[in-house]
Symmetry: C2
Subunit: 241 residues, 2 copies
DNA sequence: TTTTACTTGTGTATATTAGACACAATAATA
DNA sequence: TATTATTGTGTCTAATATACACAAGTAAAA
């Protein structure tokens, strides 16, 4: 249909391609936290005139000498002070008009942090934890990014035990269940939940009670990162549409 | 640790950010096909001096007025003549030194095409179908991109019935099984495979035999895109690590 | 033509997992 | 003290995964 284009492929022909180097690249981090049994996301108030009073994700332009993962870690560290956080690339958003400042392609990451971490108690005042369920609109295309990342998170927690990144080191089974329910948006049967979790071998009893930790009811457990039986993989030979 | 950076966040402060607009953005398409019971990928010979005689994925720089999806469709159409192909964004690769021509961030897509489609019979002579299993090295970071996309494909075909995009309109169960085996790299039990496929409701008998289609043994079926029982979703409330 | 090799089509029995379901004891609150 | 909410615990049933054998048909080779 369309006549074949004359512009050579950059992978194949060393020609002048300087006019293509007009993009900016950014990262946007969907930082999830769990507090008061609600899944929350850390947002910042936009002061771009275009998005007056809208909230936006934490993000930044990528420097010419850093890659996307590094840029995301940098954003996380600069904004929250946290290091060694769980971070995962999800999708790259590239609508032509998505940013008023020009052609900015943005790669979305989601991040899981412990919202009660001491470094997060006093946040910079333009930062705020929002319950994910309450968010109706955001600046830029950030609502779409948030929805995409939430879907990715919902899927991922069913495949790998990354969810503990959202909890304190020690937690009760009830907390864990509430967290699953908050992320997945479903109610789970408590007894079946317990049964399933224990068969994974992921949970380890914690005997000692801490002194200075606020008391929460229930037996406390901690995650056993190393050995867990990858149950889904065992039934993975099949073709489960 | 690191002192907080002074550069304002682009999402929040309308400042001069022109020095960030020095990136090029590209797409690379991992075009999968199935022929002679082998999973293949369509490659092009690189003639960049840096990658003399290495094969590379089909890709192109993204124009300043198009988004990534459009760019991928364009590459597919220009290179293969095919439209309405299955295309899915997988990951964005951004190592600082990944492209000799400058700072090029590339978003990888995988694509599923019918390798026996008539438009593909006579390919431009720099294009070639390579068995995925035989590929040892490629230009740029394309080996990593290929591996990432293969893993994404393996996962995806267990979740959604996209696999028919690799087959002719009519196919035998045996062909379908070989295709699954080729992608997943496993052997499947023929009887269990049949049972499972039929319970999905995805397959429809094809009674009439075509005249001008080369004869392949076995009963022919066609895919029933509309209704299929999403079996995995039924057991989705659980937490399957 | 006969033989051989390969492919197709079909069913059952077992093990694993998912999911539904109730009640007594304890802790917190009014 | 009464009330309310939360915790801990086990069994039964249904669905699914998986292992497994043989007879008939087709194509190729002798």
């Amino acid at each position: 249909m369309t006549p074949s284009r004359k512009k050579p492929n950059i992978n194949c022909s060393p020609v002048d391609t300087s006019h293509f180097f007009g993009f900016a690249v950014s990262v946007d981090c969907v930082i999830f936290g769990f507090d008061e049994n609600v899944l929350k996301v850390l947002l910042i108030k936009s002061d771009l005139p275009t998005f007056q009073d809208k909230w936006s994700l934490l993000g930044d332009l990528v420097e010419l000498d850093e890659d996307l993962d590094s840029a995301s870690y940098r954003v996380l560290k600069d904004r929250t002070g946290l290091e060694n956080v769980y971070l995962e690339q999800v999708h790259t958003f590239s609508s032509v008009g998505r940013h008023p400042a020009g052609r900015v392609v943005s790669t979305a990451y989601f991040s899981l942090v412990n919202a009660r971490h001491h470094q997060l108690r006093q946040l910079a005042n333009e930062l705020h934890w929002h319950p994910v369920a309450d968010i109706q609109e955001m600046a830029f295309d950030h609502m779409e990014i948030l929805n995409t990342c939430l879907a990715a998170l919902q899927k991922k927690i069913q495949e790998e035990p990354i969810i503990f990144n959202l909890l304190e080191n020690k937690f009760s089974l009830r907390e864990l269940q509430y967290l699953y329910e908050a992320i997945l948006g479903v109610k789970l049967d408590r007894r079946n939940f317990r049964k399933k979790l224990f068969t994974t071998g992921l949970l380890v009893d914690v005997d000692e009670m801490e002194e200075n930790v606020p008391h929460r009811p229930g037996k406390l457990y901690t995650f056993n990162h190393g050995r867990y039986s990858n149950m889904k993989k065992k039934t993975f030979v099949g073709i489960d549409f």
